[in-house]
Symmetry: C2
Subunit: 209 residues, 2 copies
Amino acid sequence: MGVRKAKAAETEAALKAAARREFAERGYLNTKITDITAAAGRATGSFYEHFASKEDLLRALLADMHAQAGDQLASGDHPPHDLTDPLQLRAHIQVAWNVMRENRSVMAAQFESVLAAGPASGALWDRLTEDTEMFRRHLEYLGDSDRPLPGDPALVAAAMGGMMSMLAYALTPGDTRYPAAEIVETISRLLLYGLTGPPALRPADGAGR
Amino acid sequence: MGVRKAKAAETEAALKAAARREFAERGYLNTKITDITAAAGRATGSFYEHFASKEDLLRALLADMHAQAGDQLASGDHPPHDLTDPLQLRAHIQVAWNVMRENRSVMAAQFESVLAAGPASGALWDRLTEDTEMFRRHLEYLGDSDRPLPGDPALVAAAMGGMMSMLAYALTPGDTRYPAAEIVETISRLLLYGLTGPPALRPADGAGR
DNA sequence: GTCTATATACAGATAGAC
DNA sequence: GTCTATCTGTATATAGAC
């Protein structure tokens, strides 16, 4: 790689890093191109040498994220396919939660971008179903094994993903209220047994007050 | 009420109605003041005679909604406080779902507005906890009765509300994929028993394949 | 109170020098 | 490739006539 190209790559990386910081702080929609260039210590005009628009930059950030997240998911090589097994469910929730939190600013940015498409567009549903495809496949596997599902696999998967992404977005990272372990544990328990809790702990009929 | 005041009230109502339509179509952030006034058949300048800003208008719409939703919740006079009872849980989900869907455009607008405050602000969490206060109280009641909860009541309530509001926003109203009854049923079952399903239907240990 | 016309402000994007 | 300076489009909000 030549020196010129290296410098260009450096600038591009600086812009991306700055964008991540700015998105995390002000949000995607509120971040101006000039905010990014200023934070990266570059001039406004330089931005367009690397990205056609803010949306184009977001696409690049998403590509980076997917490349990295793909590694995580593949490397984990997680035990196959029984979401009703406590350990396996928790492992899935854990991985999904980690990915969401490590890429919170980019995922939030994508969320804002999708939102800007308007409520009538159905873009949010498309995103939700795509991002929860893994859950859906696991649920379909359960259904094939004649296990009772709460409903259509795609809908249940969307419900699970929607819950998690909403929490990931709502709970600001530096938050002291809930440590990550507690959140993962709570989500896992809720999705595993619901509000009634594990069978063993349920009061026998008539025994509850 | 005098004629002049009546005319003014009429214009204000027309602006509100137009805003609801435009918000539903384009989304809150994408809707321009001129979109609203044009849809209402009024001039741009008239807007500011009634509302100080788009945000101010949103506040008015939210006030209307809360007044109306308060009626619904109070009139229902729902059976008190056992979310582990299938009928009671389903009734709560049903009411919450109806409120969300009947006011989808306004709730979505508020959502976008909160989002615009930026991810670091924590505004989304505040909104989520406020809107799920009822769930939280019901869960605390369960905890007081020594029933096992999946986690901290406020967190579980937020998870429930987050799931529902995300689905309410993602599933566009005219959607044919899932009828309202199916959605309510699926959410209820998932929150009641989780992915493992009701105890009676669970395969005995070792019996599953 | 409502209208038309306009001022203000600012974000996105480009031109041209270096 | 990067910079400074600038153009363009557009949304908000106001001024002033009716």
